[in-house]
């Protein structure tokens, strides 16, 4: 109590001191505006590009607002590449890939925190060490493995090699350890088994952490590029990021309006998820740094 009463007036004086410094505040807003312009303008450029007709895209100097906004680019992009198929492929690989990751993270973390096993801390290090092995280093042997399994150009070929999860296990393990142990003990007394405890008690309590990790997982699966590029070689198995790359390559004489419409197809679902759930995403990213 004493500490609080002492520190309070000092807090006020600190903020008051800053409030009086109009120059610093002005500078702060200028800086913020600059940040927003630098981050925002390229995004703006992508969006208006998608609404410009072919002549306007090639007008010098470029226009800031589409003079004759058109929706034709979206139709042209949709027709020049099988975006419907790309969406289905990306949805399937994202849903399955993330479900695996979330399931493994939730269950592995529970086991590491609440179950006894000889040398389990050592096992946890084995799991954690994989964070240091970039997926990139393993692409060649993994491609050989996947082709031996006959999984090239298949959903399981895209999904399974990336199904295991270390970061999520780490994140949820951190979170589970902060749960009030009394609640868990009470459930143990009730005689409910571990799986019931996991389902009925730990899952609801850990929901914020699980949602955070789930969103990170979904976004990274959606954007995954290198592995799907390697493991698929037919048009009908491409996912969205690969599809947009081939739209760029195949549209030899690039119509930027069409290509920008295509990139919007890729980016838009993620933007919607982000607008809806950004707090969880940001929490999930920050949790790894500060607590770890």
């Amino acid at each position: 109590m004493q500490i609080i009463t002492i520190s309070k007036p000092q807090v006020i004086s600190r903020w008051a001191g800053q409030r009086n410094n109009w120059f610093a505040i002005g500078l702060g807003y200028v800086g913020m505006l600059l940040c927003l312009l630098i981050i925002g303008l390229p995004v703006y450029w992508m969006i208006i590009g998608a609404f410009k007709n072919t002549q306007e895209v090639y007008r010098i100097p470029p226009t800031w607002i589409p003079a004759e906004p058109t929706l034709a680019n979206f139709g042209n992009a949709w027709n020049s590449a099988p975006f419907g198929r790309y969406y289905i492929n990306t949805l399937i690989t994202t849903i399955f890939g993330s479900t695996f990751e979330i399931f493994f993270a939730v269950t592995s973390a529970y086991a590491f925190v609440f179950l006894r096993f000889p040398k389990k801390d050592w096992l946890f290090l084995v799991l954690l060490a994989t964070l240091m092995v970039p997926g990139q280093v393993t692409i060649l042997p993994n491609f050989l493995t996947v082709s031996r399994l006959g999984w090239v150009n298949s959903y399981q070929g895209i999904v399974i090699p990336g199904a295991s999860v270390a970061y999520g296990t780490f994140l949820l393990r951190q979170y589970y350890r902060t749960l009030p142990i009394e609640i868990l003990d009470a459930s143990r007394v009730d005689g409910s088994g571990h799986l019931r405890t996991l389902w009925a008690i730990v899952l609801p309590l850990a929901k914020p952490a699980i949602v955070s990790f789930a969103l990170l997982s979904i976004v990274s699966k959606w954007n995954d590029f290198l592995w799907p590029l390697i493991v698929t070689n037919t048009r009908d198995m491409r996912v969205l990021p690969i599809g947009i790359y081939w739209l760029l390559v195949e549209e030899g004489t690039i119509d930027w309006g069409v290509v920008m419409a295509g990139t919007l197809f890729v980016v838009l679902p993620v933007v919607l998820v982000f607008l809806y759930a950004q707090r969880y995403i940001v929490d999930g990213i920050a949790a790894g740094a500060v607590k770890g």
Binding site: Q18, W45, T169
Partner: protein, 312 residues
């Protein structure tokens, strides 16, 4: 009497021990069921490939022939003697060093700014962070359009200050800076989020104490903020180094490693040798070099963190 008394006692102890070990064994089984698949997949798709990749770096193989020819250190000797590979290593270092430095420095600047009590700072934080979430391939493509020397967004500004736009992605001198700009633009928001979390974890009393002592803004930054942020800074430097080494999508989409080899980094070279050139041995070497570099950075970082970082 004594005998008959002691016998049941020991029996009780024995059965109890057997019971706990039985329940413990049930826990072991459940543990194995829950963790097993996860670890198995890591074994199959992370640890085994790591070993196999090292093996591949010692053979000559076109990924089709039934036999792999053992060449020992031949691939290493060839690559480390070739100027092309030296260029690739230097590209990797330049790309990673520049993108880490810029991401971490600009990120800190922006985080300090958005930590101030400015109206709308929450919205600004989300906007700055949003590119992190977007597909690198899509972002790379948007930036090709932005860099276009005649119809691009950047040219408007370059012309405004009276200069002429370089032919960014077709110029061996400008392609690398262009790729770095895109990387930093896309990832600076990640650093901002991490820094902001770190800034909020610094106890406010430290600032108050410094103010009472009459410390200037710079002194507070130097003596409170930086030491308070040090664990976060080290975490960020490591994660951005690792991410920088692995950057593929932006480079593949924007420059395809070119022009000539101006933006060919190790990971791009690995892809190129393995999946276009079908030279498993050389791709293997690139993988080993990449892994050893990342491992070295991780170990150095962990050592240094233990010794020098101030966990406030």
């Amino acid at each position: 009497m004594q005998l008959s008394n002691s016998l049941p006692k020991s029996e009780v102890i024995n059965t109890r021990r057997r019971q706990t070990s039985a329940s413990e064994r049930r826990e072991w089984l459940l543990f194995a069921l829950l963790v097993g698949p996860n670890l198995f997949l890591f074994g199959l798709f992370t640890y085994w490939p790591l070993i196999y990749n090292t093996y591949l770096s010692f053979v000559r193989w076109d990924m089709l022939a039934p036999v792999k020819i053992w060449v020992g250190l031949g691939n290493y000797r060839f690559l480390f003697a070739s100027p092309g590979f030296a260029k690739i290593l230097s590209n990797t270092v330049v790309f990673t060093f520049a993108s880490v430095l810029l991401t971490c420095a600009l990120g800190l600047l922006i985080a300090l700014l958005l930590n101030q009590p400015l109206a709308g700072r929450n919205a600004a934080r989300s906007i700055v962070f949003s590119p992190v979430m977007l597909s690198g391939a899509a972002i790379g493509i948007v930036w090709i359009y932005i860099f276009d020397p005649r119809y691009g967004l950047l040219d408007i500004f370059i012309r405004f200050v009276g200069l002429r736009s370089p032919n960014w992605l077709l110029d061996t001198n400008w392609a690398m800076p262009a790729v770095i700009i895109v990387y930093v633009w896309k990832n600076v928001g990640y650093a901002v989020v991490i820094y902001l979390a770190g800034l909020q974890a610094i106890p406010r009393e430290l600032y108050e104490a410094a103010l009472v002592d009459g410390a200037s803004a710079w002194a507070r930054f130097r003596r409170v903020t930086i030491p308070g942020l040090s664990p976060v800074i080290f975490f960020l430097v490591l994660t951005t180094i690792l991410a920088g080494f692995q950057t593929f999508d932006v480079i593949k989409v924007m420059t395809d490693g070119g022009p000539v080899d101006a933006t060919t980094t190790l990971i791009y070279y690995l892809y190129q040798e393995g999946f276009v050139g079908f030279n498993a041995g050389r791709a293997g070497v690139a993988g080993v070099v990449l892994f050893v570099a990342m491992l070295a950075f991780t170990i150095v970082q962990m050592r240094y963190t233990e010794r020098n970082v101030n966990y406030a």
